[in-house]
């Protein structure tokens, strides 16, 4: 039996081989104990503060919005150690790994951001990390592969399937089913089987909590909307969690529309997908008429995933959150605009959220306050964006 709710309405669950159930139960129990253990909480908070750099700043943009009464704030997860929000939950799960007496960590990575976060946490806490990465992604993300290796992680290429994130998850789960006695599977997003979506949300919820405190201090009221990009959905659920019970705050997720929602090349599981099971959870997924999983696509590797976390599927179905979609071109434009107007180079993932927030700001009523979760910085994307734009930068 589960001690925490394993489903969000009809979504979520534990669709994994029976063999993995004891390991997931052990993880759930360790998480419950840790949440009630002041010592664990203190160690986690200390790491977040002294090592990772929390709380992160919240920045009011100066030059992006034409209506002077509309305020667009950026929650600066790009300033976190590691360059993205991912460090939060990785530190939490790495501490859980130690708490369970395990010495090894398995992880999957697409663009390499979760792999880098895992590698740094394992280096810090003395855990042995092996990270599965699609062979194609290893080629595309060479600097992150080097970062992981520098920090002592083993990077294992996955040639199966399309050689991208989905296949890396498959391989990580296969590894775990043979090694759960000594290894923890440190899943990188708010997807997968229970209890991962809940753990990842709780280890990212300080994003929304800090946002609430910061906006109350600056504006004396809650924002009208919070906006975040959604691949698997970890930064978005971290931003949303503290506002779900505040009906005045619109929750807006932004999916990758890739080359357009009318094409097959996108990663918009909620907007264009259908219900099904991938990687242990029932959610919206991209699949064909038989139920075979389709390849997703996005210019941003971190959003290139053919499913979405089950809580997002639920928030969509009950109408509590809305999910927009932004194309490669719109994201690339926002990427350049933030660099040019505010001196901040955002991750391509976060550029999706920003692009949508800019459209909202243009049409917003006077006095509207919007917060965008700037989930990561764009250093990792420079070579990729350079190769797309050449030297034709929008000025």
């Amino acid at each position: 039996m589960n001690h925490l709710e394993s489903k969000f309405g009809q979504f979520g669950g534990m669709y994994v081989p029976e063999l993995l159930i004891p390991a997931l139960d052990q993880l759930e129990q360790a998480f419950i104990d840790a949440q009630n253990d002041p010592e664990f909480q203190k160690e986690f908070m200390d790491l977040l503060t002294d090592y990772a750099g929390r709380p992160t700043a919240m920045t009011l943009t100066r030059n992006l919005v034409s209506n002077p009464t509309v305020k667009l704030y950026l929650k600066r997860e790009d300033l976190l150690h590691g360059g993205a929000h991912k460090t939060n939950q990785v530190l939490g799960q790495a501490l859980l790994t130690k708490r369970m007496g395990k010495t090894e960590v398995i992880a999957e990575t697409g663009a390499g951001q979760h792999g880098v976060a895992t590698a740094l946490a394992c280096a810090l806490l003395g855990l042995k990390a092996r990270i599965y990465m699609g062979a194609k992604d290893i080629e595309r993300q060479a600097p992150n592969v080097f970062r992981m290796r520098l920090m002592g992680a083993e990077v294992i290429p996955v040639n199966a399937g399309s050689g991208t994130l989905k296949d890396a998850v498959n391989e990580a789960m296969r590894d775990w089913s043979a090694t759960y006695d000594k290894a923890h599977y440190l899943l990188g997003t708010a997807a997968g089987p229970h209890p991962f979506p809940t753990i990842v949300r709780e280890f990212h919820r300080m994003i929304g909590e800090e946002t609430r405190a910061q906006i109350m201090a600056k504006e004396g009221r809650l924002p009208d909307a919070v906006v975040a990009c959604v691949g698997g959905g970890s930064n978005a659920i971290g931003m949303f969690a503290d506002f779900i019970d505040e009906p005045s705050v619109k929750l807006i997720g932004v999916e990758p529309a890739g080359k357009g929602l009318h094409t097959a090349e996108h990663g918009a599981a909620i907007n264009k997908g259908t219900k099904g099971i991938l990687h242990g959870a029932y959610s919206y997924i991209m699949q064909d008429d038989d139920g075979q999983i389709e390849e997703s696509y996005s210019v941003s590797a971190g959003l290139d995933y053919p499913a979405v976390g089950p809580q997002h599927a639920y928030l969509h179905d009950i109408g509590r959150a809305t999910y927009a979609a932004v194309s490669d071109d719109e994201a690339l434009y926002a990427f350049q605009l933030l660099s040019r107007k505010e001196g901040i180079i955002p991750a391509l993932e976060s550029s999706h959220a920003l692009a949508h927030a800019l459209n909202m700001a243009d049409e917003a009523e006077d006095g509207t306050i919007i917060v965008v979760n700037l989930s990561g910085r764009g250093d990792k994307d420079l070579a990729h964006v350079h190769s797309i734009l050449g030297d034709q930068i929008n000025e």
Binding site: E18, L19, R174, I277, G291, Q292
Partner: protein, 272 residues
């Protein structure tokens, strides 16, 4: 239509009378293509298989090692649909009306058409049992219910790390047979099964689970013999069977005769 047969029950009765265990080979339907697939099933039966365990290819088989992953990829490269797989079973069923046939597949292939349609189509094709690799007991109730409605046996997995609570639940809910995992990990002949101690099998008997067939890492007749003397009702061999297909893709006649030979040797080892 509902499957009113109890082919597994009949098989175990017949084998017990002969003092034999069951040998059950696994192959992926549609591997390497639909036409050869039917010939492969016939070869397995001619070799002496007591029952067949058959996969439907899936794009993301998380419980399978490289051999069975490759079998899925070969089948999917020919754009095999689940309905094509059921057609092969239907054709085979006409030739072998009494042999138990089980499906082993992943949940999304069942979810997409919907449980009711999938189980009914399977029953109509002559399927006796369904095992869903990524549906653990905790998610199994609605599948078990649909199985009951359509006369199909829902096969449950007993892993080596199962708690007493899990084994007791399997005891209450299992039908047909119980898939006893020979070891942790994914499918594959590379890592041999650890034949479970008499203790685990004794526990299975104590909880009255459906007859246990040992699978995962079974590739040699000695393992079959050992499994049966440890108290298993038989053994399932997947990757070793699929290996024979993979290594003889260019010579189908040789492939079929090697499959017959392999099954015959493995079957021989079930005789006590």
């Amino acid at each position: 239509m509902s499957n009113k047969n109890d082919r597994y029950g009949d098989m175990f009765t017949r084998l017990t009378a002969k003092n034999e265990g069951a040998f059950v080979p696994f192959v992926m339907l549609g591997d390497p293509d639909i036409a050869t697939s039917l010939e492969i099933l016939k070869a397995l039966a001619e070799g002496g298989a007591d029952a067949l365990e058959l996969g439907i290819p899936f794009s993301d088989p998380i419980a399978d090692g490289p051999t069975i992953q490759q079998a899925s990829i070969r089948a999917l490269s020919h754009h095999i649909h689940p309905r094509d797989c059921l057609k092969v079973i239907q054709q085979f069923r006409e030739i072998y009306p009494d042999m138990p046939i089980g499906l082993l597949l992943y949940s999304n292939l069942v979810m997409k058409p919907g449980l009711e349609k999938f189980y009914n189509d399977a029953a109509n094709a002559g399927v006796d049992s369904i095992l869903i690799a990524d549906v653990p007991l905790r998610e199994a109730d609605r599948f078990i219910e649909m199985a009951a409605q359509t006369g199909i046996k829902q096969i449950l997995i007993a892993p080596p790390n199962a708690s007493d609570e899990t084994l007791a639940e399997i005891g209450q809910k299992s039908q047909g047979y119980t898939y006893l995992l020979g070891r942790a990990g994914v499918t594959g002949a590379e890592t041999a099964a650890t034949i479970p101690a008499h203790e685990l099998i004794a526990k299975l008997t104590q909880y009255k689970v459906a007859p246990p067939l040992l699978g995962f890492g079974i590739s040699k007749p000695e393992q079959v013999k050992e499994a049966i003397s440890a108290g298993a009702a038989g053994a399932i061999s997947g990757s070793a069977t699929v290996n024979i297909i993979e290594t003889n893709l260019s010579q189908p006649e040789v492939m079929l005769s090697k499959l017959r030979e392999f099954v015959s040797v493995m079957k021989q080892a079930t005789k006590k």
